[in-house]
Symmetry: C2
Subunit: 420 residues, 2 copies
Amino acid sequence: MSDTNQKLARDIATKAKTASRRLSSVRSGVKDDWLRASADRLRAAAETLAAENEKDLAAAPGYGLSEAAVDRLRLTPERIEGMAVGLEEVAALPDPVGQVIGGRVRPNGLAITKIREPLGVIFFIYESRPNVTADAAALCVKSGNAVILRGGKEALHSNRAISAVLGGAAVEFGLPAEAVQVVPSTDRELVGEFLGLGDLIDLTIPRGGKSLIERVATEARMPVLKHYDGICHVYVDGDADVAMAIEIASNSKAQRPGVCNAAETLLVDTKIAAEFLPKAGEHFDGIGVELRGCPRTLELVPTAKPATDEDYATEHLALILSVKVVDGVEAAVEHVNRFGSGHTESIVTRDIGTSQRFVAGCDSAAVMVNASTRFNDGHEFGLGAEIGISTDKFHARGPCGLEELTTTKYVVRGDGQVRG
Amino acid sequence: MSDTNQKLARDIATKAKTASRRLSSVRSGVKDDWLRASADRLRAAAETLAAENEKDLAAAPGYGLSEAAVDRLRLTPERIEGMAVGLEEVAALPDPVGQVIGGRVRPNGLAITKIREPLGVIFFIYESRPNVTADAAALCVKSGNAVILRGGKEALHSNRAISAVLGGAAVEFGLPAEAVQVVPSTDRELVGEFLGLGDLIDLTIPRGGKSLIERVATEARMPVLKHYDGICHVYVDGDADVAMAIEIASNSKAQRPGVCNAAETLLVDTKIAAEFLPKAGEHFDGIGVELRGCPRTLELVPTAKPATDEDYATEHLALILSVKVVDGVEAAVEHVNRFGSGHTESIVTRDIGTSQRFVAGCDSAAVMVNASTRFNDGHEFGLGAEIGISTDKFHARGPCGLEELTTTKYVVRGDGQVRG
């Protein structure tokens, strides 16, 4: 069994590596034509996709899927259209491959250029939403990489059907058939075999819960782009506009509480606590957000419950907001760096100096000044579609799009130079 | 013992993390003043440094050091001056921290800026040359990072003395004393404890032999910037200028054979082999380079010895050059990607199209056209001092200077924006 898995993983990864060598020099126009044709074909294949998806839905109760999970699994006509539009959006983005990101001519006449190149082979691990199959394939191949897709077992029929559409179009447009491969079995042990192939796979991206990411990070013999929790903070400074602070805190927490860039903790400067917190308490009561506060918060917001240190270290992903009164911006920064996950923080203030200290002090991927934490997103930043939001500091931090799926190469042109 | 090591490592790394928080917002001028003052003090401390170095030299026979290793360990007046000049050169480089590398204003008025930030804490592992202590400290601290230096046991007295000079100056200039720390023991187990501190150390850089790098890459719970062998190639195309090809091949191999960007293999297009190889054979015979060739090479160069596949996969670091006749640029690229280490390749040709196919096909950090492989170097590329030449594709590829020791942060400025 283990030998079979080992052979299967190596075989798939070797094909991907070969495909990646060809893909690296495929022109943008060809890749974009493929993406647009794939979009059309997904639309045309709606019935087949729905039939394959039906098999997954029928098997879902056997996997003990919750109603919400079954809903995420379902390929409705709107979702198929959404996938197709997603491919067209990626086609419209600039190709990062070959982009010149630096260069100079040296005194000896050597012309040095630093360009972006594909990473090679990307192993992408994700959970139940089948539309991720199309998104991930589009981003990886547009950036010149071959991708090995390993979705959840609950979505295997759907993922295969989507990948067959993209793969079929690939061959017609002269892309290698193995540019996009779906792992044919969802055996957990098989994932481990892929994670051992540091010689063939250049990057693994796990998208899912913390335990999945931790397992992958521990086992992988290649780089891993990690996307951990967002324990995001809003700090209301003593010099904040109170109405703006309530609006930003509310939007950060409640506009879509189940996502990583939603706020989990509200920090309030002691100088403004007595004015701000009673109004904030009333606002959050009104929209059904449970506040869990420090002793000072409890004095000012009678409906709040007491918070523990664990609350401050928890990504609730629900209508629960931890609250703490802190002694100025330095204390806020200290709290953020101690309890946060380096994802997104926001300060509300009118004071330039204070905002600069907050921005400089927070060791996070994105720091907002007078704006909702919810804006930390590839689309909102104008970067186009994203493959995730990295909480790593290495290689890529924050929203990761096409550029983050590339490496670089120095190209040096001379006319016979040698070193003296 | 293990508990003591664990506590010691965590204590040092915690101090480094605290220092890194302060360092991240220290201005360039302060860091540059510190570097220049440290240079002066290294010069002034030449006698003390020589005395401490003498202790290491006295102990060297006990460690079984070769004569060459003892020579690398010796701090001569010229080498102390070299260290001082190195610090002054780093002071003169632009500070990467805060550098704006992207940005835009979004339709909703959000002003988005992407800036460089220090990584945090860097664990630097190196071998016997004590001047690396000053180089590494300068590059890490100039880029806003705290550094933990773990040199070889053979150089412990010298490394401590150098670090004491830099650390003493640090405090006077208002930098945290723990910006530069030397691991006080060279216990191998202690290294393992540091490698486990993924929560405190942001990057490990091992500089040394392959087995050291492999051990570090396997054990480290944080990113590792790897600098593996250079199995570099020169490909002489059918359309090459023969005299230029000989000069470039010769310089690539023999100008300094013991370094990673020296060539190990010469690939020769079958179209030019009969003209080029006899002349090249004569040239290399004349300068004492042993050729190990494929059967076709042996026909054309009677003095060559037969090469094995192992030769093509070996970094000789000596006056030995593997030679292979290949059928055009595609076969050359295939050989490079199969046997190479992704470090540096060079093509000699007059044909633009062929050069483009070689550049695009080689999956390497640097590809030269009509220039020696020896130019793959931070100084030669005009990047300033380098901490190594990465053979990784993730985060940094090729020569790594100050910029490669940073991460990024998105800073987003608004006036009350929330998501709808």
